[in-house]
Amino acid sequence: MSEPVYRYLGARAALRRAMVGGVIAAAGLALVPAVVSPFQLLFATEMLIQCLFALAFNLLFGITGLLSFGQAAYFGVGGYLAALALVHGWTGILGVLLLSTVGAALAGLVLGYCCVRLNEIYFAMLTLAFGQMLYAGAWQWAEVTGGSDGILGVPRPPLRLLGLTLPLDTGLAFYVLVATVVLLATLFLWGVATSPFGLMLRAIREKPERAEFVGIPVHRYRLAAFVLSAACTGLAGALVVLLGHTATPEMLFWTKSAEPVMMSLLGGAKVFLGPALGVLVYAWLKEWLSSRLVDYWMLVMGLIVVGCGLFFRGGLCGALVVWWSARLAQRMSYVSTRDPQPDQIVRADGSS
């Protein structure tokens, strides 16, 4: 198989991995500011937010099997809610983040309710339609959203936590906030993905009808996944607005929705951190290609994307797994399971 096989971990193993992974990630993230320039730190902050966007998308796509081409809708809802709140004088950053998350979740609930009853292509098209609808609304509802210019000059108030006031004006301070929020959100998504609920979402992805016949109310579970994904996407949107001090309608356009799709497929949708890898690889590739080829990096990027679609369905992670398991197979003897010998099977009544 060209893709990694998922095995249910169980609560204890999943928790262990989360703790180990969390510590390593935290250490890695803490090192970053020490080794990069302030400009690169800004870039790293943006990439972390993209990672969250992609991971939230993959909860729907890689785990539940729903291809949404309109996640930008919740990105924009979260972003605009944050912008509006801050511009109107809200000073609690945590409150703003919470507002964006809950607002996007509600939008996900309403829109998702209509979407989850449809299959594959129709689901994708409806999410696309909703995304474009919100984009058009943001573009034209100028009094509220600022029209095509969007909302500019969004302030970034200091973080007030446990009696302390921590200013966030510096790139470093904001990076720490983003890194913490993204890490916590990722751990939350990991918890969802490795829970029994996550296993059932995967079953729904494989065979929705069989899942129904095993007692899972498929529509309800899909809607739940949709809402969770929308919530995390809204959070990412709020962070991006805080980063750039602006909210624009482009946040809602379908090409923005296409980004996490591409990242997840490039990095590998079946592995939890695959999309994050996709974000990093895409960003690095884009930088490298555009510095070498200046004008024609899109051509190479297009070739890579096409190549991935044709040959590397599992994305980078899938390719790595294939390579790794091929090396393992060379070292250990590999027992074929296609034709089991009858005498090796013991049936329930003892006959062979």
């Binding site: 893709e3 009808e209 129904e212 095993v214 007692g215």
Partner: protein
């Protein structure tokens, strides 16, 4: 009290009537076989009973409750399970995970053990199912690499996971060789006798039918044309006409 009762059950697709005013009563513990030529409506009957299709008319009562028109997952959580003619498992999940999905979901909705209890009991249940089906050595393999017959076992295991009262098996030996058919027959008999399970199966293989069934129901063009002990049904002229006339 009968376990399952259908009254005047009808399912039509436009002008084609697949299930035609069927009155069927299944008693607790009675191993019933539903047979009939191709196109008789056997699978459609199963589909309607389990909520995969909505009946055009008629009612279905299960353990005294009306289940007509309920969605499949609700019917399943009330205790009816089925396996499929075309093997229907979760191909990329491991065998153990296939069973785990079924165990965790049905327990949750049956509300028997509560959320924490179900998670704690699940590994034991999964192990039990693996033993029952004889699939322990394949537990960590993805279903897709298993042979057809083994995938059929997973399919049945999925149906068993919810501890159903009524198990509907749709052509369980379809596509199997002689040795596998014998093994499946043993398994079904074991399930019917030791698991407090009422089994209803559709079959084309008459040897399996006569080896297992206490009662045979014959369908033809959507209607029941014979219903009784296997030996009686075998000699029924109407049944002969239906099979030979095809």
């Amino acid at each position: 009290m009968s376990l399952l009762e259908t009254r005047n059950l009808t399912k039509s697709f436009g002008r084609m009537v697949a299930v035609d005013h069927v009155d069927l009563t299944i008693a607790d513990g009675q191993l019933t076989a539903v047979i009939g030529p191709n196109g008789a409506g056997k699978t459609t009957l199963f589909d309607v009973i389990t909520g995969r299709l909505r009946p055009t008319a008629g009612r279905i009562t299960f353990r005294g409750q009306d289940i007509t028109g309920l969605p499949s997952h609700a019917i399943v959580s009330r205790g009816i399970a089925r396996s499929f003619q075309v093997t229907n498992v979760f191909p990329e999940l491991t065998v153990a995970d296939n069973f785990r999905v079924a165990v965790l979901s049905t327990r949750r909705f049956a509300g028997r053990h509560g959320v924490r209890g179900s998670a704690a009991r699940a590994p034991a249940e999964v192990a039990r199912l693996l033993r029952e089906m004889g699939l322990q050595s394949y537990a960590e393999l993805p279903c897709a690499v298993l042979s057809h017959a083994d995938q059929r076992l997973v399919d049945i295991g999925l149906a068993l996971a919810g501890c159903p009262h009524l198990l509907l098996l749709d052509e369980p030996t379809a596509g199997m060789g002689p040795a596998e058919t014998v093994a499946m027959t043993h398994l079904i008999r074991h399930l019917a006798q030791h698991e407090r399970l009422t089994v209803v199966l559709t079959e084309h293989d008459m040897q399996v039918v006569f080896a297992l069934a206490e009662r045979v129901v014959v369908m033809h063009q959507g209607r029941i044309i014979a219903d009784g002990a296997p030996a009686v049904v075998r000699d029924d002229p109407l049944v002969r006409a239906a099979y030979l006339g095809q």
